[in-house]
Symmetry: C2
């Protein structure tokens, strides 16, 4: 059942059928009604491949994900999905597992016009490659803009978020504050570290490189990180982590050492994923507006879909610091 069959059934040309399908106003009401009934009767659905070939559009966008095993991305994708659907775009999720060759492979879909655009949550390519990509294809970075790249992006102010947290710790009297971060040397990570250092500096504490440990973002890296920090002299009384998993791993180690987290020592996570509320102690965290990060990313992408030469925008969304037991809040 294709457009030709419908045309035959209605004694019309395929062009008219196509016009009805595409809501072209230049078709008589009676004809339109006739066509719609036929379409309905035969449950005709236009072949998307034929349409794509002709229009040179796929009406699909690619979402590039570093990993599938992080709760954090789930709601972002939902934000993208729902906004994209309103505009008639379907989304296609691809996982790079942080591998450059995978990233290149999937980005190829963009160059092949297999998808009309891409929202990327993590890139390994350098700023030059990203800038060039963004100049030629609709491309937006979400949460993790490549530093120095000329590209539209949406994120929170990572530096400020950690700055605020450290400032709060200092105001509460903490004199030794540690940080467990990652070592991807990416924008969000460096921002968070800068916030940490700047706050120490601005409020009279000296940055000690032994109090900033860097590794991956797994639970175990949090444990190892906490162990390292606690071997310092003086020991920290508060630890800021670059993710909730790090915070959880750290908490797990601290508890194993007989410390009461939230009383003897404070721990702050990042991302406010669901797990933070179901551990003991519950983990304080910095909330990112995940749904809106996704939503705004698609909006930016949509501007590029309409006009590839539209100017690049950098959107910064607000965050919230949420205190739970791990920073001493009563349950």
């Amino acid at each position: 059942m294709n457009i030709k069959d419908i045309a035959k059934m209605c004694n019309l040309s395929v062009a008219t059928i196509s016009r009805v399908i595409n809501n072209d106003p230049k078709v008589a009401d009676s004809t339109r009604k006739k066509v719609l009934t036929a379409i309905d009767k035969y449950k005709f659905v236009p072949n998307i491949t034929g349409r794509s070939l002709r229009t040179q559009k796929s009406n699909k966008i690619l979402v590039l994900l570093p990993t599938m095993s992080n709760q954090f991305y789930s709601e972002i994708i939902q934000g993208i999905e729902e906004t994209a659907e309103e505009k008639g775009y379907a989304i296609l999720v691809a996982v790079t597992n942080l591998q450059e060759h995978q990233e290149i492979k999937y980005l190829h879909m963009l160059r092949m016009k297999h998808v009309d655009g891409c929202i990327s949550l993590f890139n390994t390519l350098d700023s030059e490659a990203i800038s060039s990509l963004a100049k030629n294809y609709p491309f937006v970075q979400c949460c993790e803009p490549t530093m120095g790249a000329d590209v539209s992006s949406v994120e929170i102010n990572n530096r400020q978020a950690v700055y605020d947290v450290v400032k709060q710790f200092i105001n509460r009297g903490h004199k030794t504050i540690g940080m467990i971060s990652g070592e991807y040397y990416k924008s969000s990570e460096l921002g968070r570290e800068t916030g940490y250092k700047d706050a120490l500096n601005d409020f009279g504490l000296k940055f000690d490189k032994n109090l900033l440990v860097k590794n991956f973002y797994r639970y175990e890296d949090g444990s190892v990180g906490a162990k390292k920090l606690m071997s310092n002299n003086p020991k920290p009384t508060a630890i800021v982590c670059a993710s909730d998993s790090l915070a959880l791993g750290a908490t797990s180690y601290l508890k194993s050492q007989g410390l009461i987290v939230g009383k003897d020592i404070c721990v702050m996570g990042f991302d406010n994923t669901a797990i933070t509320m179901y551990t003991s102690p519950t983990i304080s965290s910095i909330n990112q507006p995940r749904y809106d990060l996704g939503k705004e990313s698609f909006k930016l992408l949509y501007e590029k879909l309409l006009d590839i030469n539209s100017t690049n925008k950098k959107i910064i969304l607000p965050y919230q610091i949420i205190h739970r037991e791990s920073t001493g809040c009563k349950p």
Copy 2:
């Protein structure tokens, strides 16, 4: 840059170029070499839409996911992805959020031949709809086959897994064993509950409906479930949960009541997701071979891609019971 351009550059017809691309042996070695150099030189990549239109194949398969916020699926998808890639298929992940209209919308991609096949991790449609779908399109269910449907599927023996766990509990002297399950009334869930009941029955304990609580699979449902179970008389000394999140929620409640989980009461999770190792106590769990579940699913799908009339197969993969602190294993 399309196949025509390459043809022109090589003074050959497009047919010959196409043959080279598709490794047709009927092309002279010298010609092949010439074409390949040109393809290489101009970085030509065949347009996938044109090819799809002509071959009526998309070389894409859809993976239908109930939710993005479950660690469990991540490795399954990787198993599908890597196996699919070997056969030249790309995968497209869609999330239904358990909504039937979303499921229908995405399954439409199958009927529209927008994708060549589908592996589904969860379906709301009834057995008749699934059987009919599977008869007409390459379709495989992974982990959650629709009961009574004639369809290829891969899963573990859920009944046996819980049966074994309960049997172990009984052998260790537990006399009152509770279960926290979901209420989707799906195959895996009912299997797990049956395993629970059967084991009680086979080893001389009587099934008490107050000791089986059903709800969703969120952390909080685990907490609420545990509370309900502990209000029973006699109180359970062991609890089997239908997921790790339920187990974690339950543990969180039990601890809040001053119980030492792993000593005063045992808790068993399900799925062996990463979190189980980073909580305290660490959570015992039933491991599903996630990567292989994905891999075998694609293999089954591939059989259907080659021959839609090939017979449906039901594959059962092995599981492992992994004891950690929550069932009394020392760290």
